[in-house]
């Protein structure tokens, strides 16, 4: 995973180039800006237009309605004959390409037959390649630009404490910690064994000398499998489990994993479905009449595709 930071100078460079290209030929008088970041990019490009083009410009803003999975226009095309003008659809980043494709399709149904498009950033496996773009990046990469704040990676939302570290052999002598309502007995010997013999990654959440929780996971063949994760009873409600799964998923993304997998207790399948996991058919373990485990998985990046190019 690579994080691309495009400073204001670089973004302005791309904007200036696009403005020059747009104003050199038949100028697209109507711009369709996609979302907040599309608005910012459009405004920046427009700054570099010759005054005559600025005067001609008409902008319609759009937003992606995630609930209905469709594009909505925040402004109307009243008095614009879309059959007679060139339209520019502009966004700052194309991920899966589905929203820009939907916007272009919608414009065509409204009568537009000369639509061009731009995005500053384009992801490699996008299903839509715009007429112009700035930077091509991998699906698992991130890009930051035009932001007032850059989000730090974090273990917790706020009120953080302690740190996470890999387990070491000396941890074998630690006393087992009490975890969860239905006590799960995992000794530190078990965890060291997982780490040494089964090549699992095992991390402990530490607060001073205390172990507050632990996670054991494997990253294999593009999959993150969470084997064990628990937080100590004394640290309940302080975000230890949250930090541990977040760390595992962050590592997995940096290793270009596509899915996260786990065994859910049978009666908690609904909870994990709510978190976006789905049941993997045919993988179920029944212990007794009351206890079963169901194998579940979730995509790490929502926009990765089955047909994604396998580039290493």
């Amino acid at each position: 995973m690579i994080t691309y930071y495009l400073g204001d100078a670089e973004v302005k460079g791309y904007a200036r180039d696009l403005a020059r290209r747009l104003s050199a030929g038949p100028f697209p008088e109507v711009w369709l800006a996609m979302g907040q970041s599309g608005n910012r990019m459009a405004a920046l490009v427009a700054e570099f237009l010759p005054e005559m083009c600025k005067q001609q410009l008409k902008v319609v803003r759009s937003a992606w309605d995630r609930t209905r999975s469709e594009v909505t226009f925040l402004d109307t095309f009243d008095s614009i004959d879309l059959t007679a003008v060139k339209v520019l659809v502009i966004d700052s980043a194309i991920h899966s390409g589905s929203s820009m494709f939907a916007v272009c399709e919608k414009l065509v149904t409204l009568g537009a037959d000369n639509v061009i498009s731009y995005s500053l950033v384009l992801k490699r496996n996008s299903s839509f390649i715009p007429t112009f773009f700035g930077v091509l990046i991998g699906d698992e990469d991130r890009s930051y630009f035009q932001l007032d704040e850059l989000p730090n990676n974090r273990l917790m939302k706020k009120d953080g404490f302690g740190y996470i570290r890999p387990i070491i052999d000396a941890d074998i002598s630690r006393q087992t910690i009490r975890v969860g309502a239905e006590a799960v007995e995992v000794s530190f010997g078990d965890l060291v064994y997982e780490n040494r013999a089964r090549k699992s990654s095992v991390y402990l959440y530490m607060n001073g000398k205390d172990v507050c929780g632990y996670v054991s996971f494997c990253i294999l063949g593009g999959r993150l499998f969470i084997d064990t994760v628990a937080s100590g009873e004394e640290y309940r409600g302080r975000g230890v489990g949250s930090a541990l799964v977040r760390w595992a998923e962050t590592l997995a993304r940096s290793c270009r994993c596509e899915v996260v997998e786990l065994w859910s207790i049978g009666d908690r399948v609904g909870f994990y479905e709510d978190l976006g996991f789905s049941i993997v058919e045919g993988k179920k373990i029944t212990y007794d009449r009351n206890t079963s485990f169901i194998y579940m998985q979730r995509k790490i990046l929502y926009n990765t595709k089955e047909h994604a190019m396998n580039i290493v």
């Binding site: 907040q36 910012r40 803003r61 007032d148 939302k157 975000g239 489990g241």
Partner: protein
């Protein structure tokens, strides 16, 4: 109605200010839990089963609360001696 360049530039400026103040401008969804404006590259944006969208902080908080109550442990077959 479509916006002129000047109108558009002004909206972009004021939207940016709103987001800086953690308010959601028109067209921007809020986290269903903490109400932060969802800007995918900054806050994350995760869809829950009921269709609600939450920021990644709230998503992992929710998962962490579950782990507090019900730790995950892969079932293993144990063999007697």
């Amino acid at each position: 109605m479509a916006l002129s360049y000047a109108e558009f530039a002004e909206i972009v400026r004021s939207d940016r200010e709103m987001i800086r103040d953690l308010k959601a401008p028109e067209g921007v969804a809020e986290c269903a839990h903490c109400r932060v404006p969802l800007m995918e590259s900054v806050t994350g944006n995760r869809r829950l089963g009921d269709g609600a969208h939450v920021c990644s902080d709230c998503y992992f908080d929710r998962w962490g609360n579950e782990i507090d109550e019900r730790p995950l442990l892969t079932p293993r077959l144990t063999h007697g001696s």
